[in-house]
Amino acid sequence: MADADAPLTILYFAWLRERTGTSEESVTLPAGVGTVAALIAWLADRSPGHASAFANRRTVRCAVNQEFADPATPVGPGDEVAFFPPVTGG
């Protein structure tokens, strides 16, 4: 178990990477941010690029610790949280 002050690793892929201008960042969560939905709302305020990346949340998908997640999925210290558009492989 990561300790309560451990940062989260945030990863961005595809156009979320391009809009935020970063592929990876480390953040320490403020109190009260405990779900994917709350994390998105908090991240969107970090920069205009972040705001643009998260502007249309219906087109944003998420994985927590390499498993697909949804807005209600809990997030906490030490987690790896990735944001990306709907996948288009194959």
Binding site: F13, F84, T88, G90
Partner: protein, 149 residues
């Protein structure tokens, strides 16, 4: 026992069939799908770049393969997905599914590619002949195809 690889290099289709079936006589049919970079006439695609989420990709594919193995009696399975920049006509993805009979082999092949398209963390950015580049949008038809299973 499934073979799963994510790699920039091309794959050798004949060699992958041979590896799947070598020394076996319990297999009755092998289904296969190969996806390639298509450059259609009205919107010429010169190349595409496939981005993925390295820490998650193989795990996600292994989960899809495990689901196929749960649904059909498979005797072997291969999924190879390329990443990086690929030009028109190049191979993108290979799926092989072997079974005692043809129906499970064909059904598992279709299932694997449908789910790879909608549940594995890959993203395609297409380069157009006019110099522009755009992220490919997910297709509702793909979601519908994946939801059939």
């Amino acid at each position: 026992m499934a073979r799963i690889r994510v790699q920039p290099e091309d794959f050798d289709i004949g060699a992958e069939f041979a590896a799947l079936t070598a020394g076996r006589s319990d297999i009755g049919g092998i289904g296969c799908f190969v996806g390639t970079v298509r450059s259609n006439a009205d919107d010429r695609v010169a190349a595409m770049t496939l981005e993925h989420y390295p820490a998650m990709t193989e795990r996600a594919i292994a989960g899809i393969v495990a689901e196929a193995e749960r649904r059909w009696e498979l005797l072997g399975c291969t999924v190879i997905h390329r990443v990086g920049r690929l030009t028109a006509g190049e191979n993108i993805v290979l799926v092989l599914a072997a079974s005692a009979h043809r129906q499970p082999a064909l059904d598992a092949t279709a299932f694997l590619i449908d789910w790879l398209k909608t549940r594995a963390p890959f993203w395609k950015k297409e380069e157009h002949a006019d110099g522009g580049a755009t992220w490919v949008a997910a297709r509702e038809a793909d979601d519908a195809a994946a939801a059939r299973w």
